[in-house]
């Protein structure tokens, strides 16, 4: 530090001008958001719980003496004993309907309501964080959580699978066989697919989070929305509605396990999630941009 009094390096009057030239967005807030999110004990506990899913599956399959026959249990379960690389995928299939939405509900529901509940929202806003910037940072944080949560399941699955089962070239749904390295790439691609799948729910959670100062309420509401969407998706009478449900493509990543990869479901899903992000992002903005912060 060249100056003995660092505070005097910036005078308040010229601070805005400085910033206009330099920090246009101020990425430090995003970095801080990620650090606060992932250092938080609650986040770590949720990730540990997610990591337990593949471990439980792998250990259960390894310990059971009966051979799992094809079509029994969750998809891909029968393949685990032949190839450990399938543990992560199986765990993902198990986690998608409930465990992942549960953790995303907590992370996304907490975004604004959590800050409001602590009272830190007012201090962020008078800093000034900027309301739109704060929303963007919060959504980015929730999206990062989706990615990390999904990767936690896939990577833990790959590790425990490699420890307990043989690893080898993977036979795809299309009958082709791909190398181990290629299959790792496919696993990561599936993780990406699932991450994108969860962005719509994250946007809904962000919006709900702007409605309340009680984070638990926002979390619970987001989870209820996720469960409700899946129930509606299961009712054949509502078939017309199904393509519009954010959960409709959640388990639709089988196309990634074909050779060559079919990208249709990936793009359909991305388009749908993008629509949810736009709609609920706009709703969150409409609610939050002019909201009186009284917490």
């Amino acid at each position: 530090m060249s100056s003995s009094n660092p505070i005097t390096e910036v005078s308040p009057a010229d601070a805005p001008e400085r910033g206009a030239a330099g920090a246009a967005f101020g990425w430090a807030l995003l970095a801080s958001e990620l650090v606060v999110l992932f250092r938080r004990r609650r986040t770590i506990a949720m990730l540990l719980a997610l990591a337990l899913i593949p471990i439980l599956i792998a250990v259960a399959v390894r310990l059971s003496s009966n051979e799992v026959s094809a079509g029994q249990g969750p998809p891909f379960l029968d393949r685990i004993t032949q190839n450990g690389l399938f543990v992560g995928i199986t765990a993902l299939v198990v986690a998608i309907p409930l465990f992942l939405p549960l953790t995303i509900g907590v992370a996304a529901g907490d975004t604004i309501a959590g800050e409001a509940g602590l009272g830190t929202l007012r201090y962020l806003l008078v800093a000034p964080a900027g309301r739109v910037r704060l929303l963007l940072v919060k959504f980015a944080g929730a999206a990062a959580f989706c990615l990390v949560a999904t990767l936690t399941v896939v990577i833990t699955g790959a590790i425990i699978g490699a420890i307990l089962f043989p690893i080898g070239p993977v036979t795809l749904l299309s009958g082709d066989t791909i190398s181990v390295a290629d299959s790792v790439g496919r696993s990561l691609l599936i993780a990406l697919y699932v991450t994108v799948s969860l962005l719509g729910l994250s946007a809904i959670g962000l919006f709900i989070s702007t409605l309340t100062t009680v984070p638990v309420g926002a979390m619970a509401a987001t989870i209820v929305v996720a469960v409700t969407a899946q129930i509606l998706d299961a009712l054949p009478q509502l078939a017309w509605l199904h393509p519009w449900l954010f959960s409709h493509y959640w388990l639709g990543f089988a196309d990634i396990l074909r050779q060559p990869i079919l990208w249709d479901s990936f793009s359909d899903n991305a388009l749908l999630q993008g629509g949810y992000i736009l709609v609920f992002g706009a709703l969150a903005y409409g609610r939050f941009a002019t909201k009186d912060i009284l917490s």
Binding site: M1, N5, P6, I7, T8, E9, V10, S11, P12, A13, A15, P16, R18, G19, A23, A24, F25, G26, A28, L29, A31, S32, V36, R40, R41, L118, G119, T120, R122, Y123, L124, L125, V126, A127, P128, A129, G130, R133, L134, T290, D292, I293, L294
Partner: protein, 330 residues
């Protein structure tokens, strides 16, 4: 600017600022004029609309009607330009309990786009040092006492050099020692050229540091001005200690004052000069100066053993404006 020719010298200016929640008017047509460089006391009992006003000054809440200008700029439209120059403590401190004191300040500092990351660590350390929290910098905030949180809140307001500090109840939860430190801090901030806008429901804490004050009651501004202006509105008393009670009363009567003997039974001869004041009169006519009174008394051969002008305390004025005890205007 053209429509506010006189507002250049004001750190805060509000025009008919009003906030309604439903049909309840919480802040009613408040006109605040806070000169730059002032230490401005914002007084009022709990629930009088102080914090809501502060929230509108800082753009946290929108005004139902009226205008707000802070540091010469319209709020909230120029919020991004104004707030980096404003340090604030709003309705008590609030922090992430699972983070340490210094991690909390880091976090809030990143929210300010204009706060340079290069100096962040040094600035956080300096702000903590300034409020005497260096020893607890790495302690998690959930282990902080209320007083420590309050200091941390002040440190947050001081992370960057500021032109204006808005401190809502800064001494809340502090012990007398801490209260004195906050007063010293306010003085040093003002000495450094900053305007300090400090709210309190405890008048005594503010009276010692403020140059100006405004009093809120039930959402309306009921008085504002320099401390001297505020005091002058109140009643002053002259008190006199003398064995010559009757002559003294006569002199005061001639001057147009209405004296009362403090102890009607006490005769001129058996008054012990050490026991207290014997004549007192409300100083109703401000054209009568204290030195003029003394001169008249001496000229009339009154043995003046003690003479004092008791200005009404701001406390009396405050209570007169806002009501007493729990019986405050709602």
């Amino acid at each position: 600017m053209s429509d506010h020719p006189h507002s250049d010298g004001l750190a805060i200016e509000t025009l008919e600022l009003t906030k309604r929640f439903g049909n309840q008017t919480v802040v009613n047509a408040v006109d605040l004029r806070v000169p730059r460089g002032a230490v401005y006391g914002f007084l009022g009992p709990n629930g009088s609309g102080k914090t809501t006003t502060i929230r509108m000054l800082l753009g946290l809440a929108g005004a139902t009607s009226g205008r707000v200008r802070v540091l010469g700029e319209d709020m909230p439209s120029r919020l991004q330009q104004v707030l980096p120059r404003v340090g604030a403590l709003v309705e008590g401190p609030a922090f992430y309990p699972f983070l340490s004191g210094s991690a909390n300040l880091h976090r809030l500092d990143t929210a300010d786009r204009f706060a340079p990351g290069r100096t962040r660590t040094a600035r956080v350390a300096e702000a903590l040092d300034r409020v005497g929290l260096s020893h607890a910098a790495t302690k998690k905030v959930h282990a902080y006492s209320l007083g420590m949180k309050q200091r941390l809140g002040l440190a947050n307001a001081l992370l960057m050099p500021r032109d204006l500090l808005v401190l809502d109840e800064p001494t809340n939860g502090l012990d007398p020692q801490g209260t004195r430190e906050v007063r010293n801090l306010v003085r040093s901030l003002a000495a450094g050229g900053a305007t300090v806008f400090v709210s309190s429901h405890l008048l005594a804490e503010i009276e010692q540091v403020c140059t100006h004050a405004a009093v809120m009651s039930a959402g309306s501004l009921v008085a504002s001005g320099t401390l001297d202006e505020l005091r002058r509105v109140g009643q002053a008393f002259v008190r006199l200690r003398t064995p010559d009670v009757d002559i003294a009363r006569g002199v005061l009567l001639r001057l147009g004052l209405a004296p009362t003997a403090l102890d009607e039974q006490a005769s001129a001869t058996d008054v012990d000069a050490a026991t207290g004041w014997t004549v007192s009169a409300p100083l109703t006519d401000r054209s009568v100066t204290p030195e003029g009174i003394v001169a008249s008394l001496v000229a009339a051969n009154v043995r003046v053993r003690g003479f004092v002008v008791d200005e009404a305390s701001l406390e009396d004025r405050f209570v007169a404006l806002t009501g007493e005890g729990f019986d405050v205007v709602q």
